[in-house]
């Protein structure tokens, strides 16, 4: 398929503008600052563009088009109502007087409160733009906490080897040394290993609970106790919050800082990779380190941006966060309510365990135990048929199913990480199981089918080596 740039033709246009209605003046500017050559944007008519994007859209798998059990990404249904509601809040400039945007501020204020309640945290910032951005925010809060309390020797952040890659990257960006602890034989943090590395040089421990294997860190209270004894902070990666809403709260487990992914747990669309939104919640003692501003309410009932956070870790981005995403998440929370959120978590966990049980017969489940919202298949057994997890994944595409997250977490070889979410029906899960077994049968009887897959997709298997070698990055 051609690039839109390759459809360019001089003289075409999809644009119209009113004629300039003011008297013109000569442009007074150094000659070298005036553009010589027009940017090579495409010249096309509107229908061409419409067809272009129509064709492109049809080449995408999406939650709307089919099952998308991408582990750790919580590809749940993105309700239509979210979009309609967000449409009412598009036209707000960030530098309007607060009295003219009381509705937007109230929404943010309410959302802060609701997210605080869901996580068991005392204060929330909505500023971070994504999960990883929330992690960075959290780590910078840790940093401020350390400085403020004079813990000059705290240079390390501990995290399990099953952690999301963004955890170490974010800790590093905040200037910490990263220490990975091995998981135990049950897939959880190995408490003994943990005790070995836990000392006063530790600034924070980053965990996600349930962890990326979908397993609940059963020693969480012990870990929290140890951390706090050493004045370290416990950080909760909210990527997996969808398993526990209304069941247990990070704040109650002893976590001091939490980030959330509104685009995962709270049903806002993933937009091909973003925008997300990664609010961060903290316990009372860390409130003063939050980024500026947060939304507050004064005694007259007026909402306002509170910039009066003297020990703030700073500003993580411009303005106030991804407001459009917040509107969607807020809509979702109102629709679901307290009962609905809890029910969502329960059904997400039910779905995952159902799949796990259905698959465990012939697929090796890594650390096969009651899981929460997701579980991981250890794909090494596929080697005996001469195929890899990658091949298996590509074959799933032929059946219209988006593969699970593959090759993560790193501690499971040839991993397939499956997160069905609560919005999928039993029928959809049964269909997935059926396809999984069908492909397994193919792997056993005719492995070449898998190795050459996919066949029924808009393109056949793509060559990543060529891509990285030629580095053709623009049309």
């Amino acid at each position: 398929m051609k690039l839109i740039f390759e459809k360019d033709k001089y003289g075409r246009t999809a644009f119209s503008l009113p004629k300039l209605d003011v008297p013109e003046t000569k442009i007074e500017l150094e000659e070298e600052l005036l553009r010589k050559e027009d940017p090579g944007l495409p010249q096309v008519h509107e229908l061409e563009i419409v067809r272009h994007y129509n064709e492109l859209e049809r080449k995408n798998h999406s939650v709307d088009s089919g099952f998308y059990p991408l582990g750790s990404c919580t590809m749940k249904y993105n309700p239509m109502l979210n979009e309609e509601m967000a449409g009412m809040f598009n036209n707000i400039h960030p530098y309007l007087d607060e009295e003219h945007i009381q509705g937007a501020l109230e929404l943010m204020y309410n959302l802060q409160k609701h997210l605080g309640e869901i996580t068991g945290m005392d204060a929330i910032t909505l500023q971070p733009a994504a999960g990883a951005h929330g992690e960075l925010t959290g780590m910078l809060i840790v940093r401020k906490y350390i400085e403020d309390n004079g813990y000059t020797n705290k240079t390390k952040v501990i995290l399990p080897d099953s952690a999301h890659g963004t955890n170490p990257a974010s800790a590093k960006m905040a200037g910490f040394d990263v220490l990975e602890v091995k998981s135990g034989p049950d897939g959880r943090v190995d408490l003994e290993e943990f005790k070995k590395v836990m000392d006063d040089s530790v600034a924070a421990i980053m965990l996600t609970n349930p962890n990326t294997l979908g397993l609940f860190e059963k020693d969480i209270l012990e870990i929290a106790k140890l951390a706090h004894e050493h004045h370290a902070l416990l950080y909760y990666d909210g990527a997996n919050l969808n398993a526990i809403m209304g069941k247990v709260r990070p704040g109650d487990m002893g976590f001091d800082i939490v980030h959330l992914n509104l685009h995962k747990t709270f049903s806002t669309p993933h937009g091909m990779g973003g925008p997300g939104s990664g609010p961060v919640g903290v316990k009372e003692k860390l409130k003063n380190y939050l980024p500026k501003p947060i939304v507050d309410i004064n005694e007259d009932g007026k909402y306002f941006f509170n910039y009066d956070i003297p020990k703030s870790c700073g500003r993580l981005r411009t303005f106030y966060g991804n407001f459009g995403v917040m509107v969607r998440a807020y809509t979702y929370i109102l629709m679901m309510g307290k009962e609905g959120l809890k029910f969502a978590s329960e059904m997400a966990v039910l779905n995952a365990n159902y799949l796990r049980k259905k698959l465990e017969k012939d697929f090796k489940i890594a650390f096969d135990d009651v899981c929460k919202h997701e579980f991981v298949i250890d794909g090494t057994f596929l080697k005996e048929y001469g195929v890899k997890t990658l091949d298996f994944a590509k074959r799933l595409l032929d059946y219209g199913i988006h593969p699970p997250t593959i090759y993560f977490p790193l501690i499971v070889h040839e991993a397939m990480m499956i997160e069905p979410t609560e919005t999928e029906s039993k029928e959809e899960l049964d269909h997935f199981v059926e396809v999984m077994y069908k492909i397994l049968e193919e792997a056993k009887t005719d492995p070449e089918i898998l190795k050459e897959a996919p066949y029924n997709t808009p393109v056949r298997r793509l060559n990543e080596t060529v891509a990285n070698k030629q580095l053709k990055l623009r049309g």
């Binding site: 690039l3 944007l41 733009a129 993933h270 590509k394």
Partner: protein
């Protein structure tokens, strides 16, 4: 059992599934979870669509609707025209509800759209490579500073004081913990451009990068070439550009910029209270391996057919973990695609014309304000579509009067620069009609009578 429209489970389903799992109660799935929270969340109960819609409508009504207002305020987020096709195309559901294109074969829509976006950004900025988006302009600048330090292993960034004040804050937040120093460079009080002498005096051996805005926060067009000329070879010039202006102004890449970043909102995105918008990020090709964020490249499939995939993933966290170029993972792909649709619609002639109209309309207003003798010029430097001007009366009170007439007046620069109070930063775009501008000027004419 209450049914939720977003959850398909029937009582029957739940029973059957529990049977397969071998449990009798959902609680058994949580038996390993400590009983720390037994009650109910203190949240409202589940509502119906009708009720939720009413509630959000109520909130929405407590905001003014800028559709109905003449807008003379910019300062980083701009009210430009968004052609009708932009959102209708870019937010099609199979774009909207897809995620990061991990499985390229079923994500060619996303991948090609982002590849086209990268292409457009290269064209606009005059750079060789671009990534597929950052969160916003502020984080793009901050990440550019970090990238420059990775490139030249130097750890001081000289940042023009006329970079958007919030971008400066973000840059400081991002760099502080990495021991990169941010030093501000003054502006020339006469021209409003960067003070070249101050810049020169601050360059030292540890200087990694110089960051300027094009145009700067005062709307004034910096001379990138002149700045580049005084920089030592190893110092990277980072230009934060307002993309609409690039329809009129020479591409930073042609004037010596090493990294060009910016806020992309003006390219067809809603103002959306400042987010989500997106940052763009482009550089010389030789720095590509130090670039943060996702990058799309062209390749072929097993049959030799063109296709697109994510490339250079070894820079990223899921492989490189703590040693990744950045922690950015989810970016603002949707907004990037929105801008890509926008740029395809306006095309090269459209961008030129928009830029030209922005320039002309802003200059018309500036001229008329000066002629009114109620305003005094502040800087001599040439501006694009924003300008700084000093009223001989109370700006905030004047803005209140304008508001009553459904006009959003300029921001007061005093909110951002302590040394400049009661001074206006006006913004004019292609959406401001002559009629609006003339009306604003007529209001200025009435200032004496209303005694501000």
């Amino acid at each position: 059992m209450k049914n939720f429209p977003y959850i398909p489970h029937t009582e029957e389903d739940i029973k059957e599934m529990m049977k397969v799992i071998g449990i009798n109660d959902i609680k058994e799935l949580y038996k390993d979870v400590p009983k720390l929270f037994e009650g109910e969340l203190n949240l409202p109960s589940s509502k119906s669509e009708i009720e939720v819609k009413r509630e959000l409508q109520e909130l929405s009504k407590r905001n003014i609707n800028l559709e109905d207002y003449a807008m003379f305020r910019g300062a980083g987020i701009y009210k430009h025209y968004i052609p009708s096709a932009v959102y209708q195309l870019a937010t099609k559901r199979n774009f909207l509800t897809a995620y990061t294109p991990y499985q390229a074969e079923v994500s060619q829509g996303t991948l090609q759209a982002l590849y086209e976006f990268q292409t457009a950004i290269c064209e606009l900025t005059g750079m060789e490579v671009a990534n597929s988006s950052m969160y916003d302009g502020g984080t793009a600048v901050a990440e550019a500073i970090l990238m420059a330090s990775r490139v030249n292993k130097k750890y001081k960034a000289l940042v023009a004081k006329t970079l958007h004040p919030e971008y400066i804050e973000v840059s400081k937040t991002y760099t502080e913990s990495q021991n990169i120093e941010i030093e501000l460079v003054n502006y020339d009080k006469k021209t409003g451009r960067i003070d070249l002498d101050d810049l020169k005096s601050k360059i030292d051996d540890n200087t990694s990068s110089v960051v300027i805005s094009y145009p700067n926060f005062f709307g004034i067009i910096e001379n990138i070439k002149q700045i580049k000329e005084i920089l030592p070879e190893k110092v990277l010039l980072i230009v934060n550009a307002y993309p609409i202006a690039l329809g009129l102004l020479e591409a930073p890449g042609n004037l010596g910029a090493d990294i060009v970043v910016g806020e992309g909102q003006s390219l067809g995105n809603y103002m959306s209270f400042g987010g989500p918008t997106f940052g763009f990020f482009a550089s010389k090709k030789k720095y590509i391996r130090q670039m943060p964020g996702r990058i799309i490249g062209e390749t072929v499939d097993a049959e030799g057919k063109r296709g697109f995939v994510m490339v250079l993933q070894t820079r990223e966290q899921h492989i490189r973990r703590a040693r990744a170029t950045s922690n950015i993972c989810s970016n603002h792909a949707l907004m990037a695609v929105i801008s890509s649709v926008y740029l395809s619609i306006i095309g090269r002639e459209g961008l030129k014309e928009i830029a030209y109209q922005n320039y002309q309309k802003a200059h018309y207003l500036a001229r008329k304000l000066i002629e009114s003798e109620k305003f005094e010029p502040v800087f001599e430097g040439e501006f694009f579509n924003e300008f700084v001007i000093k009223p001989l009366f109370d700006l905030n009170k004047f803005n209140d009067i304008l508001f009553e007439e459904k006009f959003i007046g300029p921001i007061n620069l005093g909110n951002f620069y302590k040394e400049i109070n009661n001074t206006a930063l006006f913004c004019v775009t292609e959406l401001n009609t002559k009629e609006e501008i003339d009306y604003l000027i007529s209001k200025v004419g009435e200032v004496d009578e209303i005694n501000l």
